[in-house]
């Protein structure tokens, strides 16, 4: 590598560590979307799909590293209320499918584990780390709307266009809960249950 090539290192370091909080928040959003797209593209080869999903979920979880649990909404106080809130969110998320349910194939165990990993990873990345960064930089409205926009964009490769409004609305609901209750346990529980059910 030439000295010219090495000259880029301080710039990268600036972006990752020293950049203003707003730039870091946008960078976090970009990384979360790229991780989701990479997972979806990797899944287009039929081998080891469950492993790919689990790895993708864990990679998303890494975006929350370095933040205190309270920043991510992962405090343990009033846990029963958080869990009940999660059940309520799952109920809302599943209601449109439940009233029209015609049955469906059972999720194989390895894909059930993968669904848990992806759900937890997406919540920690989008409603946890990204929400916290956007809120710190621009306030709660941008945190809710920005995390919803990034979450919708992240699903653009895996869903046909007509499904994206429902994905966006789900993101808005989970983001609104994160803002109103300052809690991520509820969205994690709701999201995991919804993914396991569908």
């Amino acid at each position: 590598m030439t000295s010219g090539g090495l000259a880029i290192v301080p710039s990268v370091k600036s972006v990752l560590v020293l950049a203003p909080v707003g730039v870091r928040a946008i960078g976090l959003a970009a990384m979360a979307v790229i991780l989701e797209w990479a997972r979806v593209l990797a899944l287009r080869t039929p081998d080891r799909q469950a492993v790919t999903l689990i790895a993708g979920g864990l990679a998303l979880c890494l975006l929350g590293v370095g933040r205190r649990p309270a920043e991510l909404g992962l405090e343990t106080s009033r846990m029963p209320e958080r869990l009940i809130g999660g059940l309520a969110l799952a109920g809302v998320l599943l209601l449109p499918a439940a009233v029209r349910w015609g049955g469906g194939p059972t999720l194989a165990p390895e894909f059930a584990l993968a669904a848990v990993a992806v759900s937890v990873g997406e919540e920690i990345a989008f409603r946890g780390a990204m929400f916290a960064a956007l809120e710190q930089a621009y306030g709660p409205a941008v945190a809710v709307l920005g995390s919803t926009a990034a979450w919708t964009l992240a699903h653009a490769l895996s869903h046909p266009p007509e499904f994206l409004p429902a994905v966006a609305a789900a993101g808005l609901l989970l983001g609104a809960w994160r803002w109103a209750v300052r809690d991520l346990v509820g969205p994690i529980v709701g999201h995991v249950l919804a993914d396991l059910a569908l």
Binding site: V92, A97, A114, H155, L157, A176, L198
Partner: protein, 239 residues
Amino acid sequence: MTRVTRRHAALLALAAIAYAAAAWAVAPGFYDGIAPPAPYRWVSPPPQFRSSNKPPLSGRATVKVNGGRVDPGSVFTQDGQAAISFSAGAFVAPAGGSPVTIEIQPQATFPDPGETHIATNVYCITSTSPIGPGKEALVTLQYSAGLPAPGEVYAYQDGGAWQKIGNTGSAAPFYIAARTSTVGCFAGGYPKNAGQAQGARLGGQSLPIIVALAILVVVLAGIPLAVLRRRGGADGDEG
């Protein structure tokens, strides 16, 4: 966790209503795409898929009998493109309690569908014991993301005529499902004169991919530009 005020509760309720409205427009509603389909494997691929096509796979499973009832279960083809799911007792229990074997085979030849356009492979499901009187099983078929989506599941038995058996609404994008009271041969399709409308509704994933890539480029280019602009501003202030 903070105390939820009336304002918070009202906004949460609004978000829930907005979600219900958006999710009602598509079945099943929110779906996270845990296992997005791999490229569809065609028995007879359309021209645009010929070069990359792989042959579809079959499926076979043996289902036990417990307490005089055939267990519930699902049988899939190895590539996941076709499946049959059933509850306990849906299949008639064989005399002696021997297990029921169910097979799913993609078919290269099938009766002329007439005015129906077949949009998936045709899969024939056979079992060593029939579905019981008044019982049903759910047949789920994947369809290609690159072609117009089928609107209904069609079926025929023993070389007979194709019959529309409906669409229960699928649990996932790119899948269609219907209930059946008999095993036989199944495919997703739509009336030939409805092909244009279907194509306009779902014409593949190229547009969202292009838009998503464009947004990605803007985001990735925007970060260093924002950094440079801020640095430039800071330098200017210092100078």
